[in-house]
């Protein structure tokens, strides 16, 4: 019995949602292609969970449309939208075993006992939990519970799979393990998926496209590598991946930082600025004398294939992170004076102190 299916096309059109004075969603437009996994990434309060809940039908939009496979679902109640949702935690029904939980969606659809138990066991097998079939949620670990929750959501062969920060409540190690599994299963089953998280590493690792949100707006949505290397705004640049914020000046369309002059890629203008530079976009060399672009190595952290140096300069008085291959890090012990060179073609700027 094949579990794979053709995914559905999801269109969120101009969704607006206000809670009193606060605008949680400010005209969100998002299309998710069939079978695609889109991650909505952002800090808490950015509107990502609101968007998910509007799609699920657990909340009502003030205006805008939710369209799935061409059908307008905006006024359809949540129980009739045929979507499967995995919550952050605690969503398994405590009075039911894993099998009973997974088959619940089929039960309410009137599927007969034999068929639904068979399907439920298939899904538990898919998520690797056949041994836990007759256990209750309080007898399972967090990771196991979330896998059951995933199986339960998939059991009804939903048009859309909705994941509301499913990994946030888990231990770090379980998190990385489970995220690979979720992605593997999602690709295998082919369901269109919307994944909400505040963990940028998670979003980048799992998604086909990452949408970075802030204050109810979608700032940028693109493939993970594009969002990382070509952020369109200072917010996106700072939120995704590690980023140095080094005091800089704008001078005739060029960014003057660390004694160098680089093309201005966009962002804030005026006074009291910082330049946004990735740790891997700075190269170091041992320096003999001090100058505008030298600094002192404060710490050297071995991170596996990469090593991160923490360098401070007298000019900027900020701690700068520099990443380089570990094989080359030998010469840069703490206390070494190093020269810093910016390797980027253009730099984004932001206001100092804005986090």
């Amino acid at each position: 019995m094949s579990l794979a299916k053709q995914g559905s096309l999801v269109e969120l059109s101009n969704l607006v949602r206000r809670f009193g004075e606060v605008t949680a969603l400010d005209g969100l437009n998002l299309t998710i292609q069939p079978g695609e996994l889109v991650a909505l990434l952002g800090p808490s309060g950015c509107g990502k969970t609101t968007a998910l809940r509007l799609l699920a039908g657990l909340d009502l939009a003030d205006s805008g449309k939710v369209i799935v496979d061409g059908k307008d679902l905006t006024s359809v109640p949540a129980s009739q939208r045929d979507m499967g949702m995995v919550f952050q935690a605690y969503s398994l029904f405590p009075n039911m075993t894993a099998v009973e939980n997974v088959s619940f969606g089929l039960k309410v659809r009137g599927v007969d006992t034999e068929t639904r138990l068979k399907k439920a066991n298939e899904l538990l097998d898919l998520v690797g939990l056949t041994t836990q079939a007759n256990r209750y949620s309080h007898q399972m670990s967090g990771g196991q519970q979330q896998r059951v929750a995933l199986a339960r959501a998939l059991a009804i062969e939903p048009k859309v799979l909705l994941l509301d920060e499913p990994l946030s409540a888990l231990d770090a190690k379980v998190r990385t393990q489970l995220r690979d599994e979720i992605r593997r299963i999602q690709i295998e089953v082919g369901t269109t998926t919307l994944f909400v998280t505040h963990d940028q590493e998670e979003a980048m690792a799992m998604a086909d496209r990452v949408g970075v949100m802030s204050h109810g707006k979608l700032e940028q949505i693109d493939r993970p590598n594009i969002v990382y290397s070509n952020p369109t705004s200072a917010f996106v640049a700072s939120f995704v991946g590690a980023m140095n914020r080094i005091p800089a000046k704008l001078d005739a369309g060029k960014v003057s930082v660390l004694g160098q002059s680089v093309k201005h890629g966009g962002g804030a203008s005026g006074s009291d600025l910082v330049a946004l530079i990735r740790p891997e976009s700075i190269s170091v060399s041992v320096a003999k004398t001090s100058s505008a672009n030298t600094g002192l190595v404060l710490a050297r952290s071995f991170l596996g294939p990469q090593t991160r140096l923490t360098v401070t300069t007298s000019e900027t008085k900020t701690n700068i992170h520099v990443d380089l291959p570990s094989s080359e890090a030998g010469a840069f012990a703490p206390g070494t004076t190093v020269g810093l060179k910016v390797e980027a073609d253009s730099l984004l700027t932001d206001y100092h102190g804005k986090n």
Binding site: L58, S63, S75, P77, A78
Partner: protein, 266 residues
């Protein structure tokens, strides 16, 4: 802009029903008390008087009963402080394995009806004890055990005694210092809670004292009530006010943390 109702299965909303229930509930719980207050001061012709109260206060029986009840309160509080607090503390620090057993024992007074305990005390205790009010005090110590244990246990649970003790001892404090400077201040509110429960129970305890023929406050109240309904109602009102006063004093002493009151009703 059209707003469509997507269905109220999301979160349930209480309606008119709740408000009706609440009003009925409010009436049910306040009317008896208000009636009692009015009953104790009315004359019948529309005027009000405090004669019932003055009559009760000047009754020699009251002072005797009050004195006995007060002595019993002190004795029970003593048992709480000298037996229960050390025991529960010891249990948490040194003898965690015995927790289940001790907990079970403290539940026994709830499983064995007080009337049966009274019966048992009469048949098993030597007469010299039965002639002394101390027996009643000890019995009360046992009767209050479920509540005092729970209050103290909850208090100790909330402060992770083991870690604090290890930290204190690690810094060089003696056992006495650890208890007085580290543990005791942190379980102050639990101790207050336990004391409140004990006092409330002792002041209201009827069955054991009446069967062992001791003239405590409730026993005297019931006696008075047989001939002087107004007087008995007056004392009832006074005792309620006293308990509320005690509760207020305790929660003030306790600061922001609420005094958690447990199950009861004998």
């Amino acid at each position: 802009m059209s707003k469509v109702k997507v269905g109220s299965t999301i979160t349930p909303k209480p309606g008119v029903g709740l408000n009706t229930w609440l009003i009925v509930g409010l009436l049910f719980f306040t009317v008896p008390i208000v009636s009692a207050a009015l009953f104790s001061v009315q004359v019948g012709d529309g005027t009000y008087t405090l004669t019932a109260y003055s009559r009760m206060i000047t009754d020699p029986g009251l002072s005797v009963a009050l004195w006995l009840s007060t002595k019993l309160v002190f004795m029970t509080v003593g048992i709480v402080l000298l037996l229960m607090v050390p025991t529960v503390t010891w249990l948490h620090i040194r003898a965690q394995k015995a927790k289940r057993t001790v907990e079970f024992i403290t539940l026994l007074p709830l499983i064995i009806p007080p009337v049966v305990t009274a019966l048992g005390l009469l048949s098993s205790m030597p007469s010299f004890l039965k002639e002394s009010p101390y027996l009643l005090g000890f019995a009360y110590g046992a009767l209050t055990m479920p509540y005092t244990y729970r209050a103290l246990d909850a208090g100790l649970n909330s402060i992770d005694v083991r870690t604090l003790v290890d930290a204190g001892r690690g810094l060089g404090a003696s056992w006495k210092q650890v208890f007085s400077s580290v543990i005791a201040p942190n379980i102050k509110s639990a101790i207050f809670g336990a004391i409140f429960l004990a006092v409330a129970l002792v002041l209201g305890e009827f069955v054991v004292s009446s069967l062992l023929i001791w003239n405590t406050l409730p026993v005297w109240m019931a006696l008075v009530g047989m001939s002087d309904a107004e007087g008995a109602v007056a004392i009832s009102v006074m005792s309620l006010l006293f308990v509320w006063l005690l509760l207020m004093v305790l929660s003030l002493l306790d600061g922001s943390r609420k005094v958690k009151i447990n199950v009861g009703g004998v």
